[in-house]
Amino acid sequence: MHANRLVSLERWKKWIWSFVRLTLIAGLSFVILYPVLQKISTAFKDKSDLYSPIVVWLPEHYTLDNFIKAIGIMDYWQALLNTFTLSALTTLLTAMSCALAGYGFARLKFKGSQLLFACVILTILVPPITILIPVYLNLKDFSLMGLIPLLTGGKSVNLLNTYWPFILTSATANSLKAGLYIFIFRQFFRGIPKEVEEAAYIDGAGVGKTFFRIMLPNAIPSIVTVLLFSFVWQWNDSFFTTTYLTSSKVMATQLGSLPYNLQIMLEDGANSKADPFYLSMVQDTGILLAILPLMIIYLFVQRYFVESIERTGIVG
């Protein structure tokens, strides 16, 4: 009996598959984590370790010099605060406006709502670069169809280098990837049984009350998904940030100009010949600093995120 089980083909197959699976997952996890681990290791290295052949992962001389340099050049704390404010603001507004639109499209059908939903899909399909120039020019001389000049006496406002472009687009559900969020919300609301809603109507709740009291609390998985996606993508976004916010200190612009600023700073110092490897080292530290807050947030919410996304109903 015992021997029989040992040689059983099924059992062997199972073991081999487990082994293959383990190898694959461990290997791919390593591929994903490798650049991050490497950045952490590099960040603590001293300049001399860079050329030392015996140093691979653990530095010989630990130093916080790279961090101090990168923080100084990037004006890190200011950039962190600005980026956080901007991301949090747009994330909240986006989630609200997209939830409203998603619910409207899913449950409150009106004449032409099918057509409008097709327009939502269109906003997903058109590459953002196609409309970038007109939007940019529009924000540069923002007149809201000629309304603002009436109030200020013939002058339009320049909204560039303020947070207004982000606030306006996210409050109207047209910010970065907003079409996708509307789609996620719509799919999710369609998945909630109609009876839940009807019960609320029968009990005398209006559409607004039903939405806020009944539907939104049920939609927490999709809200979490949208909040996290929107926050992260706004944080990392360089496309809109570098266009609308050229001189403000947010992470994307600071990181984008880090190589250049680094060069200037090191050229001016005693080190007249800036070593490209050393530049790269400080630059890597800068990247690490930029993604560190996201990784810390992810550490706390990942369990909830991974669970919630499975119930999100992106799948429909």
Binding site: V56, A101, F110, L116, A173, N174, N236, D237
Partner: protein
Amino acid sequence: MKSLLRLDRRSYNQQKALMGFFYVLPWLLGFIFFFLVPLLSSLRYSLSSVQANSDGLIIHFSGLKNYIEALTVNTEFNRTLADAILNMVINVPLIVIFSLFLAVLLNQKFIGRSLARSIFFLPVILASGVILSLESTSLIQAVNEQNAGAGAIRGLGTFELEGLMLDAGLSEWVVNYLTSAVSRIYSIVSQSGVQILIFLAGIQTISPQLYEASKMEGATGYEAFWKITFPMVSPLILVNTIYTIIDSFSNNTMTDLIRETGFTQFNFGLSSAMAWLYFAAVALILAVSSYLISRKVFYYD
């Protein structure tokens, strides 16, 4: 007008329809101001010669001049567009297949599953925008790989694999495709985070009874995958393909070129024409690929 103001006189469905309009209204305003109007003016710019001066824009209609310039005069446009499309054609199938495979893997029960999942979704957070572009120029990364001999090992591994597959009688083209995929594994993994999520969510909606029944009938895991999992998630293959295509087109060398033409050379007309040609290419690819895939898709109901 009177009846519009008196909500209570309206029927339940009419009320809901009216509320629906209000719920969609913020989006609709944004759509008109930040999408439709810009889209139309972009079309207009692309057909005009645009000059910016202190009073604003001077726009002269010039027909298809900008389009012709982009396609025939501009030295970079054709090449960059072809590159972008080629990259997409190579990467999209790999990413979709890879993420389906991983989703199946991550759906199985094993020790450390939740840890593995959170690692595989990490790229959703890390790989985007400015970080990715700086990453590709990182010298340290390159140097360390040399030092650690990772480059050599990787090269060797791919090489052996190549010989093995050629011996097995696969065509050279297929082998090259696969081995290049192995060496680009990081970029593929980092671009498939969202797709893995979508597939994983899809797989979990498949009812377990189907698997139980097939197991009773004696189907192997391999058969269960091709007969149950694959047909059931095939609509999501379409979704994921479209998502991957759009994602690969949202930020690449082509968008850089369009941007540079617009904001560095201030040639708004040419830049808009390029953007429209680019959009046309994207739309064409999306249409063709969704047509091809949707013919094969299995719908449950």
